[in-house]
């Protein structure tokens, strides 16, 4: 019995240590506070360990990120929620935004540093931000994101498009402030 429990703990720790950077990174980008992120990530690990015998064995990372997300929603979101810079309407029709620069996006964004990207991401409304970070940082599939966020796949697709559009706009603002973007002249 004791050996079985120790084996289960070893198995859990092996898997959890591998995904801990993702757990902590997601926690940090959700809470925007290193202290809260430490607490959230650790609590998620404890919750996961407590429920490990119910884990179906399919995708440990997705399972852990779901725990982090749910824990955040239940425990942190209400006390942390601040003003949002865009209203969330999953049903609104998405239109690509026309930006004013002349350089391709990849050239502009290459100039930005990690801190600026992090700040821009932090300014994206929470539900859009979560979709973007799960897809573009954690590499989750739409189905996995839908499971984690408990929304339909269509909503995931919509939130990703909107989140990226807001992020793109934010990154352009940083680039303009730093002088990486040349504005189109009136004559062009």
């Amino acid at each position: 019995m004791l050996i079985g429990r120790q084996n289960a703990r070893d198995a859990f720790e092996r898997q959890a240590e591998k995904v801990f950077p993702s757990v902590f990174g997601t926690a940090l980008r959700l809470t925007k506070s290193r202290e809260d992120a430490e607490d959230l990530a650790q609590e998620a690990i404890v919750r996961a360990y407590d429920a490990f015998e119910r884990f179906d064995g399919s995708n440990f990372k997705a399972w852990m990120l779901r725990i982090v997300t749910n824990l955040y929603i239940n425990k942190y979101r209400q006390r942390q929620r601040g003003p949002q810079i865009a209203s969330i309407n999953d049903d609104a029709i998405y239109e690509p935004a026309a930006l004013s620069g002349t350089e391709p996006d990849h050239q502009v964004f290459d100039e930005l540093v990690g801190e600026e990207v992090e700040t821009a991401l932090a300014n994206v409304p929470e539900d859009f931000r979560l979709a973007v970070l799960l897809s573009d940082i954690e590499g989750m599939s739409y189905q996995e994101i839908a499971d984690i966020m408990n929304v339909p796949i269509g909503t995931v697709r919509s939130r990703l498009a909107r989140g990226r559009a807001i992020l793109r706009q934010q990154l352009y603002e940083f680039a303009k402030q730093e002088g990486y973007v040349r504005e189109e002249s009136q004559n062009d």
Partner: protein, 246 residues
């Protein structure tokens, strides 16, 4: 109306079959769609490459520490849960046995209480029996079955009194022998003598003084028996030896 979110799905590798073909056709024919797709790819690349979070190694160690705490708690809870019935049974048995002991033997009687019981005993009756077999059964009756006997050739009972208070039955017997008067107090329903630190132990007995009189005390089978007399302890002890049924 064109659904541009399909381009995000294409960039994310989430399309297949006709949907993928439709998105690729859109890219070839719609410059806005093409620009949007390039923007999506650039954003994805930027986020993936410029989002490095520094993690303090102590954070993982702290998480492991919390797991250990959980393990300890579960182990303790498991023990209590597993042996709860056993522990309850033991506690119940202890309570029951203590209750039974108190029921049959009573609680200890204090040395001060003995004097108090004796002082409260009255009126005294002169209806005593001091001869032969009759005396033995009479002594047993008036002392509520105490393990004592009085040899009529050695000691005489002059008067006695009885009282029942707080589940304790007390009998006082005023006697005398050839050396003078003696008082015997028998308390039923006492498991022992408390406050005996005021008394010294001598053989089978506790000895001390109540007032100016020497007294000698012993407990047996749920009774506390005290013998008073104005004589030395060893003389009282000899009388006690003749009285006690051992």
């Amino acid at each position: 109306m064109t659904d541009y979110t399909i381009l995000h799905a294409l960039a994310d590798g989430e399309l297949s079959g006709p949907e993928k073909a439709a998105a690729e056709e859109l890219l070839r024919t719609d410059p806005i769609a093409n620009a949007e797709f390039q923007a999506v790819v650039a954003i994805k690349k930027t986020i993936a490459s410029k989002n490095q979070v520094h993690i303090d190694p102590k954070s993982w160690q702290a998480a492991v520490g919390r797991i250990s705490e959980l393990d300890k708690r579960k182990k303790a809870e498991g023990f209590v849960g597993k042996y709860a019935w056993g522990m309850c049974t033991i506690i119940f048995a202890l309570i029951l046995s203590t209750g039974l002991m108190r029921h049959f033997n009573g609680s200890p009687v204090g040395t001060g209480d003995i004097a108090q019981y004796a002082a409260a005993l009255q009126p005294f009756s002169r209806d005593v029996k001091n001869t032969g077999q009759d005396m033995r059964s009479w002594i047993r009756d008036v002392s509520y079955g105490a393990p004592i006997q009085i040899d009529p050739g050695f000691m005489t009972v002059h008067r006695y009194a009885q009282r029942i208070e707080e589940n304790r039955s007390t009998t006082i017997l005023l006697c005398s022998d050839s050396s003078g008067p003696l008082t015997l107090i028998v308390v039923k329903g006492a498991s022992g003598i408390s406050g005996a630190e005021l008394m010294a132990r001598q053989g089978n007995y506790l000895v001390g003084k109540i007032g100016n009189a020497n007294c000698l005390c012993w407990s047996d089978s749920g009774f506390v028996i005290t013998l008073f007399g104005n004589r030395p302890y060893d003389a009282l002890a000899r009388v006690a030896e003749s009285i006690a049924l051992r």
